[in-house]
């Protein structure tokens, strides 16, 4: 019934995906650095990072673009996934740290004699993988349960999520939390015993991020084209009417909210080994607001849009913070205002309009995902 992407759009998506996860890594690994076609490790790391961001933007689209729940704390779930995997990476350092101890360096520095209980089992990759999904997921489940049960909506929900990530950041800044205080985790050495900085490992993480992004897109599309997707957009537009039809809307909100948190957590876990550090600044309120901006710039309720938005905004950020670091925040704010005013459907909406106006093309059906009118912040 509702076809979100035309066959042509699918072709484009898979073509881009093939370039990202096959061609670029091949050029990175196979060609010597002197070769003009060589893709440098800078680009591999940068794009790998962007693809992790893109999954968070996609998760944001599910909850904000489709369901109308504006989370301003999505960075928290991303960071928690990162911390969960970071614990494993810290354990993998083994005795190669500065203090040559079994304990992570920051614990030796604090004069701790043994691991805190919640570090138990983190030397196991599998357990770490469980934590990556479970910690953000369970936190979202518990938080969402109470928030949705109390019928907290709209801007109040946004503010509470913002406060939640801020509170978590303050907590993680404390040394006694056992997560390295404001330095967080860094100086990672290995994953599964293999050196983390080797080109092969870097490429493997990059390809995994790309495949994860593609998988997340297919998964998100499956949700939004199911009847559940139509229920979610109905929650966004007319929640009380839907309740009157007999839907327990808070169960739906809780499910999609938790899914989005777990998706973001996995993205964080892929992100941390690529950038080599995780610290509490990832939980800063500004980070979570940026995530919302990626989705808004890309186009809410389009799935592909927020992915484009994450790439576009972060691409601009990479350039700006080198060229005019002091102007970046002004630019970001201006971008958000302009997009909200001029492009309510974001880059995806703009692209759709341009494609339809190209001569000689049969009008591609506009995606039947309308703008979330009521979800404006």
């Amino acid at each position: 019934m509702t076809r979100l992407f035309s066959p042509r759009a699918w072709t484009a998506i898979f073509a881009v995906a093939a370039v990202l996860v096959v061609v670029l890594p091949a050029l990175h690994l196979a060609l010597p650095e002197s070769h003009p076609m060589h893709v440098s490790s800078f680009w591999i790391t940068l794009l790998g990072k962007f693809m992790c961001y893109a999954v968070v933007a996609l998760a944001m689209d599910l909850i904000w673009g489709y369901t109308g729940i504006l989370s301003l704390g999505q960075g928290l779930f991303f960071a928690l996934g990162g911390y969960a995997f970071g614990m494993y990476l810290m354990r993998q350092i083994g005795r190669d740290g500065v203090y040559k101890s079994d304990l992570p360096d920051f614990m030796v520095f604090l004069d701790w004699k043994e691991l805190p209980w919640y570090w138990a089992g983190t030397d196991s990759f599998l357990w770490a993988a469980v934590l990556v999904v479970a910690v953000p997921g369970l936190l979202a489940l518990a938080f969402g349960f109470f928030a949705f049960r109390s019928r907290i909506k709209g801007v109040y929900f946004s503010i509470i999520t913002q406060a939640l990530t801020y509170a978590a950041m303050l907590a993680f800044f404390r040394n006694d939390m056992g997560f390295g205080g404001n330095n967080g985790f860094t100086d990672f050495k290995r994953i599964l015993g293999l050196p983390i900085t080797s080109p092969e490992m870097r490429t493997a993480l990059y390809v995994l991020s790309g495949l994860y992004l593609l998988g997340a897109l297919v998964f998100a599309r499956w949700i939004v084209t199911s009847k559940m997707g139509r229920v979610l957009t109905a929650i966004r537009d007319q929640e009380s009417r839907l309740m009157f039809l007999g839907y327990r809307t808070r169960s739906y909100k809780l499910v999609i909210w938790t899914i989005a948190a777990a998706m973001s957590g996995i993205a964080g876990a892929l992100y941390v080994p690529q950038v080599g550090i995780i610290n509490p600044s990832e939980m800063s309120p500004a980070n979570s607001i940026e995530i919302a901006i990626w989705a808004a710039v890309g186009g809410r309720g389009t799935l592909v849009g927020p992915i484009l938005g994450a790439f576009a905004v972060n691409g601009a950020k990479t350039w700006f913070t080198v060229a005019y670091p002091e102007l970046w925040l002004y630019f970001l704010g201006l971008l958000f205002v302009l997009v909200t005013l001029l492009l309510p459907r974001g880059l995806a909406g703009l692209a759709g309009t341009v494609l339809r106006r190209l001569p000689g093309r049969t009008a591609a059906k506009p995606a039947t995902a309308p703008v979330a009118h009521e979800a404006n912040p």
């Binding site: 009847k227 007319q238 039809l245 007999g246 169960s251 739906y252 499910v255 039947t368 309308p370």
Partner: protein, 275 residues
Amino acid sequence: MSDGSIHALPGTGEGVGYSHPLDPDRVDTRHGPILYLDDITVSFDGFKALNALSLTIERGELRCIIGPNGAGKTTMMDVITGKTRPDAGTAFFGQTFDLTRLPETEIARLGIGRKFQKPTVFESHTVFENLELAMKTDKRVRPTLFARLSSGQRELIARTLQTIRLAGSEHRLAGSLSHGQKQWLEIGMLLMQEPELILLDEPVAGMTDAETARTAELILELAGTHSVVVVEHDMDFVGKIARTVTVLHEGSVLAEGSMSAVQADERVIEVYLGR
């Protein structure tokens, strides 16, 4: 409609017509009316919105309720749907369901469907999707995620589209419909819930004359297969569809009977027609 999933045991002599003695979830009207209100009183801060109101609706009946503003029409609907709890009196749906105790959602699930004055359809969904969302089915998360329309369900939607005169428009966005069409879609969404009793609150408010005429046809079609209660101000419209009319005044029944009998009633003329 989708009768037939539940039948009485053969040979018991029951199960004829519309009785469903084996299903505790179905309204039981074997020995009486589908809706029974007796001595209902509702007061808001001392003001009696309903004052010892008594009313019965038989199965398959089409009943029009009229009355001046403040007569208690909407409050009566609120009591029937569980939105307002009466201070005194009894309200039964069939023989077994006490409407003064059941929660709102349960009453809706048991088969009392209500259309509000202001149409609220899902504007960014298509007409078809609106009906699909309203369909009576398992509305929990997991069944919804894996839901596929069966051919029976598609047929039900197609039939409903015919009934509400929107066949051919099923892929239009509901937001693009005219006011009258939205009202019909809303009635269609009500029908998709397969209600036993339909409450329509001012169904032709704001409609053009042509739309009003078609709505009258639609309601007449529904009567018989459904029990319908219409609350309406528009006397011409009531005249077109009315079989039995109940006049409310100051929270209780002033008169009841055919349209012409009611219109001839001295007291009705005095309070309602304002002479």
